[in-house]
Symmetry: C2
């Protein structure tokens, strides 16, 4: 069975401390997040188990968690796929992402420190470097790290899991967009975010985050979905 080929779930470290189930969850989640699993492709639990050389038990637990997050879809036929994107769903997801991330960013402002800003700048530079080499996976992860770092400074923060759930749903399609375009769209709006942070300007920050999301995959994504429909 060539499931491992179709599958192509990028390796990640299997820390000795965490359980097999956690490892499978993290690995599949990462694979979906960066779009390594093609939407619509059929997966089976036993296939995954064989590919990862594990028993079906921890696989099922990981898969169930992902289906709860809508990262995987379990069809009534017992079939399992990464959901296909539609124009309507895409626009809803992008709109939700903007609402959530503007909300999270604004609520982070009181906790911003110069150190955090410098760390974000470092991440942004790293992104520029990776971008020139065309590593889309690393780019996606770094971009998420950049955003997550901002939202995480709020010590009582409860938004990140919710935001990640949206990223997870956008991930597979975003990859398709990047591959189709073979370039990263738009300018870098992260600089704008950084300036707003330096100024502790809540309004400007909200605008910057909104632009970053909208001018990112959003426009190109919509175009691709429209030309199909």
């Amino acid at each position: 069975m060539a499931k491992a080929d179709t599958l192509n779930v990028p390796e990640i470290a299997f820390g000795a401390d965490r359980t097999t189930q956690e490892y499978v969850y993290a690995r599949l989640r990462n694979a979906i997040m960066v779009g390594a699993i093609e939407p619509g492709a059929h997966l089976t639990m036993r296939g995954l188990a064989e590919a990862l050389n594990l028993s079906p038990t921890p696989i099922r637990e990981a898969v169930r968690r992902l289906s709860t997050e809508h990262a995987l879809q379990i069809l009534p036929n017992r079939r399992m796929t990464v959901p296909l994107m539609t124009l309507g769903r895409f626009e809803e997801l992008v709109a939700l992402r903007i609402t959530l991330e503007v909300h999270a960013a604004e609520r982070s402002v009181p906790y911003i420190s110069d150190i955090i800003i410098e760390n974000m700048v470092a991440l942004d530079n790293e992104m520029d470097r990776v971008l020139s080499e065309g590593h889309y996976d690393a780019l996606t992860i770094l971009n998420q790290d950049f955003h997550r770092m901002l939202y995480a400074v709020n010590p009582h923060q409860v938004c990140i899991p919710v935001i990640e759930s949206v990223w997870l749903q956008l991930g597979p399609f975003q990859r398709q967009v990047l591959v189709r375009l073979n370039q990263v769209p738009g300018v870098d709006h992260h600089k704008q975010i950084i300036s707003a942070l330096r100024a502790r300007d809540v309004v400007a920050l909200g605008e910057a985050v909104k632009n970053d999301i909208r001018e990112g995959i959003s426009r190109s994504g919509r175009q691709i979905l429209e030309q199909v429909a």
Copy 2:
């Protein structure tokens, strides 16, 4: 083992079509949502399995899903509890609820029909009836049905799972608030929501939803958490 007592997971129908794991998930989720499981109480998988007369396997899957939704917390000691509420987390959750539900409500407006409005009125009347009898569980569920009905008219809707995840995190504490007060706080803001819908007034709707959430458990909840701290 008197786990079944401490547990007190309200019965729900076990449809012949759904799997055991789904049944356990739905039942535990409902129990947490209405606050039937006391925050901080220790649960064990084998205890749940025994109480429900099932093997640990489907229990583990259900519990894992709930922990992914932050409805349950799995501590490093392998212990499992419903998370305790803190003032900071409470305020973040309420703020997030407002942002999300205003967003969802506004995006539902284009799809509103008179039939939907009538159904919502019916639910609201049902709530008034149940309220006079002091059935907090039914009240909580009906209130959620009322909100969900509104957000679900948007055919491309992706918000509901996210919103439910927030409800799930607020559920246990909300129950504590209701019990402590022994009354439902505030006026009924659902009438205000209904009027805004009838007028197809997006701004008024947003305000109404915000008030409904803020004037609901929010104020009383904050008071209780402050007096503890």
